[in-house]
Every structure is written in C-alpha cells, then in structure tokens.
Assembly symmetry: C2
Homo-oligomer: 209 residues x 2
C-alpha cells in the first residue's frame, strides 16, 4: 500500500528528532507530575519510546533536564528578539514587543510555566540555570534598559531610572507568570499583559496608553 499520507513514524529517526521528542515529553511529564514524578519511565512512555533511549541520545537524565532548560531559554529569547531589528519600530514599540513576547502563548502556558518553576524550585537546577541561561536573561535586561533610556530621554521623564523600571518589569514578569501558574482561573495572559501595560503608562505616560 502507498502510505505516503500516513503519519506512521519510521522505526528509526534522526538524532535531532528524537532529542526534541524527549525534551517535549520531559516538559509534559514535569508539568503533569512535577520534577519528582518526571521519571525516565514516565518520560519515555509519554514519548512512546523505550526506556534506554534517553541514555543513548543524552548522557544522562541530568543532561536531558539541562537540555530541556536550555531549550526553553532559547525558545524564549528567539521570540523576544524577533522584532527588535525592525527599523520602523520606535523604542516604545520594541519594549512593547518584548512585553508581548513574555506573555505569548508559545512561552506562557501551563506546560512551560510548570517547567520554569520546577527548575527555579530546585536548588541544584538554580545553579545550572545561572550557568547556562542567565546570560539570556541579562541580555534581555540590557536591551530593556537601553530602550528605557531612549524613552526617558524622548519624554524627558523625571521618574525612576531606566534600571529601576527594568528591575520592576522583570519582577512583574516573574510574579505574573507565577500567578498565572498558581491561579489559572483568576489570572490570564491577557490580564497580566494589561497589568504590565498599565504600569508602563504610569511611568511613561506620553508613550503608553
């Protein structure tokens, strides 16, 4: 039979595919059962693959978790960097794009938020996080500070410094993420976005409304 249309997966696949499959299954397992429930048995069952494959495509379970964290960090960075080089965007537009990215469905959903906070909650991975992903965070902060400096200069604002505004923003990002994760019925992406924009219209009234 000609099964060109069927999505039946081949018995063997390129390493990249398998690695991605396992990372995805890891995120699903963590979001459903927590880090302690994300056993190799659970992960490989979720992926529909055999137990031994993790140690074949990754050095160890720890390596798989580190790669998962790296994947999340890079996916997030790709999203907010996307619109930064558009020449027709004002600094306020660009800052807006970064805020949008923070609450974009691809990044800000139960599955991914669970994983972020699972890593934050485990001391061992906090260390791993700082060494592999914190540059990405700091990079975003640098960019935001630069944008805020421009905005402050444009509007001749006398309020808090660019650094203060950005630290408040970063705090808001994390805190609103946590609230969305903890109380999904009360906090939505939309509401969180509105919250941040409301703060920005308070510090930079001439630029945001």
């Amino acid at each position: 039979m000609a099964d060109a249309t069927s999505t039946k997966s081949a018995r063997t696949a390129p390493a990249k595919t398998r690695r991605r499959q396992l990372i995805d299954a890891t995120m699903i397992s963590i979001s459903r059962h927590g880090i302690s429930g994300a056993t190799l048995t659970a992960i490989t069952k979720e992926a529909g693959l055999s137990l031994g494959l993790v140690n074949f495509h990754f050095k160890s379970k720890d390596a798989l978790l580190a790669e998962t964290l790296k994947f999340l960090a890079e996916e997030h960075r790709d999203l907010w960097m996307q619109k930064l080089d558009r020449a027709d965007f004002t600094p306020a537009d660009k800052l807006c794009a970064i805020v949008d990215a923070q609450f974009h469905p691809r990044v800000c959903n139960r599955k991914k938020l669970s994983v972020w906070f699972a890593f934050f909650g485990e001391g061992a991975y906090r260390k791993s996080y700082r060494s592999t992903s914190s540059e990405i965070d700091l990079e975003r902060q640098e960019v935001c500070i630069e944008l805020c400096r421009d905005i402050i200069a444009e509007g001749d604002y006398a309020g808090p410094s660019a650094e203060d505004v950005v630290q408040t923003l970063e705090g808001l990002f994390d805190g609103l993420w946590l609230n969305i994760l903890m109380y999904p019925d009360l906090f939505t992406r939309k509401k969180a976005l509105g919250q941040v924009m409301s703060y920005l219209s308070l510090v930079f009234p001439k630029h945001f409304d």
Copy 2:
C-alpha cells in the same frame, strides 16, 4: 553534677517541640538540597533525631511537607496582620506595614524562599497549597484592596483601580522574591522594598514618597 546550666536536651520531649524541630529541619534540608534531596534520612539527621520519628509525629513524609507549608503560610500571615489593628495608623501606614512584612528578614530569607519556591515548583504541592494556604493569600489581597480603596478616595486618584494596584503588588511581591532567591548578589531585601515603594509613589504620589 548539677547541670542546670547545660542545654543538654532531654531524651524525650513534648510532641509540639519535636514537630517544630522536624519542620525546621525540613526547611533547612529543602533549602540546601532541594525537595528531591530532602529525604527523611537527611531531615532527621539535620534534626539530630532518628529516622522513624517522622512517621511517629506525622502520618507520613507528605504530611510533614504539608505541615511545613502550613507553618510558613501562618508565620507570614502573623507578621503582616500584626500592625493592622493599630488605630493610629492611616491606610497608607498599614499598606506600608504589609509591604514591610513581605520583605521582613524572618520571612524573606534564603531558607524560607527556597521552600516557598520548592512547593510552587511541584505540581502536587501547588494543589495542596491552594487547598490549605491560598485563603491566607486571598485574605491579604482583600485587606490590601480595602486599604487601596481608602487611599484612592482620600487622594481622589484617577489612575488604576484598587484591584489592579493590588494584583500588580502581588505580582511584584512574588517576582521580587524569586529574584532575591535566584540572584542574591544582585537583589537584596532593601532594594526590593525600594522597588515596591517606588511603584506606590507612582500610583499614589500624595501618600508615598
């Protein structure tokens, strides 16, 4: 020998003492080795007690963890409720006291923050948290909303609603806690407190400076 001065502990102690000892050892273990490293062996060794005591004073390890979370939530509530019934405090004073409590050293330190985020990070305990401690959070939110309503009325402010201000505050609280935990060298309690006060002086300029 008369060892009245020695602090040598008796071989047996009231249940309340033992329970408190074990809860404290649990917090220390979680903060040092994460939730997955907080085994009963590690916890009881930290407390200087024997392995079997946990299941004697608590039903199970799970019950010990739930009690630990409850202890943290109640300790936190006791702190911010402390100054609310002072008749000589204005609404702004009271809101200030709640913010102070949020970053009080007794609550906002590495040991306790580690435990908070360890629980937030584990899906299973998020559920437990919602059922045992979220009323405490909501209670604080209610109080804050009431205070903000008074402040808005007093100052005749046209900015965001009391509900919006409080949700932003709650987001800021959690986010700044996380930053203090993740980057203790960059973020301090003092700085976080300043951040929140800076926000308040932006929304309620006549009341905060």
